[in-house]
Symmetry: C2
Subunit: 166 residues, 2 copies
DNA sequence: CACAGATGCTTCGAATCCGAAGCACTAACT
DNA sequence: AGTTAGTGCTTCGGATTCGAAGCATCTGTG
């Protein structure tokens, strides 16, 4: 473990720090906008957005949790909250009694459309404003590759339960 | 407000989503490594790291909070925690009785060195592995500019208390 | 100097978050 | 079918988080 005690040069450090800082700052501002515009937390918005983009407006709990990088128990909490507010419904899946299917309601979609313009405005102002088109493309490309790489590796808590090894 | 209901193209969306996803996934993994290696949360590590990089190993509470994008009350909580564990000390500032100066202790530095190799290993493996040198440079450049832009704008909760305007 | 406003930090209460443990259902193997 | 392992979700307890309010100090102005 930790068998490569190499250190980073300033460019690498800069990239890393900038990444963390930008996402923190962005998240912060977005959070406030969402709270004000539709009384949503960032997580709640992400959940609704994902559901809204789904072809049938629904997902399994686990897939939702993995999608937004969130703990399952945390998702249960938020899903209950959203359900009480009438923004989603929950029902056991037809094919698998264990799993719960979360579906966005019309009211959920309305909330989404109500909140969206402001959300875009914040992103535009904070994230895209200082960037050229090429920068955005580079960012999408580079970060996209990183994401794929991360998703490829054991996505959540590494150790697969068992190795059915020969 | 929201006077620009333009929408994003897929590149922009990709850049945004990738940013969020990458930082979330990264944070998650790093968190676990830190927890295991030195019983630190990510925030605690960030605080120690910042203090460790400071010329005199200390910062004011507010500057620390702004640095890591964190609420003041949250910082108070973590600073107390770190102080109890002997990783930092807190003392009123000499020149301003109001402000508290947080200083990293030798034990804090030791913890930092103990945790660092693993931290670097995670970053190397998860973030830098799929990237060329040029990619890292592009990332540092683009995200660095975004960060500067964000920091330039009213950094925390917008409204300055008063406008001493003419 | 007295005072109002600004600033730095902490306390407080409520919301959110996570991991571990538990419950229910499914799959695989015999 | 019976047994064992795997999977999906929730509950639980404790930790962390934030914003609002409070307290103490500082600063600028009369």
């Amino acid at each position: 473990m930790a068998d490569t005690p190499r250190s980073f040069d300033s460019t690498e450090l800069g990239a890393y720090f900038a990444l963390i800082e930008v996402s923190s700052l962005l998240r912060h501002t977005v959070e406030q906008q969402l709270r004000g515009a539709g009384d949503l937390s960032y997580v709640q918005f992400q959940l609704l957005a994902r559901l809204g983009n789904s072809p049938d407006g629904s997902y399994r709990m686990t897939d939702l949790a993995d999608g937004v990088v969130y703990s399952r128990s945390g998702l249960t909490y938020q899903a209950q909250s959203l359900e009480q507010r009438g923004l989603v419904t929950r029902a056991p899946s037809p094919d698998d009694e264990r799993s719960t299917t979360v579906t966005i309601t019309q009211q959920g979609r309305d909330t989404l459309t109500k909140v969206f313009p402001g959300h875009i405005a914040v992103l535009d102002e904070l994230l895209f404003e200082p960037l050229e088109r090429a920068d955005v493309e580079a960012m999408a490309d580079v970060l996209g590759r990183v994401r794929d790489h991360m998703r490829a590796a054991p996505p959540r808590s590494a150790a697969p339960r068992r190795r059915r090894t020969s």
